[in-house]
Symmetry: C2
Subunit: 94 residues, 2 copies
Amino acid sequence: QQQQQMLRAGAGRSFRLVQVRAESAEATASVAINPSIKKESDKVVDTVVVGELAKPLTAYCRCWRSGTFPLCDGSHVKHNKATGDNVGPLLLKK
Amino acid sequence: QQQQQMLRAGAGRSFRLVQVRAESAEATASVAINPSIKKESDKVVDTVVVGELAKPLTAYCRCWRSGTFPLCDGSHVKHNKATGDNVGPLLLKK
Ligand code: FES
Ligand code: FES
């Protein structure tokens, strides 16, 4: 399963990179998943007071690539397409 | 910043792997961040009806490594330590 995932993630990329990834069974799990959000912080934790939600449905980012983090801005779509991943937001429903 | 992050992420791993990562400015962003959760699904989206929250504070996973996904079980601590990452949950407060 994980091997298959890594090969899918490497689709369209150079063979060399795919080969190096395939050598490590832990490649997916062994890199940082947050490239840029609050990297000065030891741990990025956000709190939503649910009583203060403005809209009936609000999407919160779980891909760490949103320009409006902690909110989702749809950037997971690009990430999923580029890597073969399948991540998406957490929806908060009033 | 990103280069630094990649080198930190590679600490304790083979030099060869670090070198290959450093060659790609997009290494962090170009792998799947979800190794195992619902990989049969095209996109993992979860919905929380906030009126149904049982506890005053509930943590939701954003590291994709929780054994109780979509809830946080603390697995982000191990991931952060292993990779130098700084991810953490989204807290929902009643
Ligand atoms: S932008 Fe990150 S989950 Fe949508
Ligand atoms: S277990 Fe994933 S954020 Fe805590």
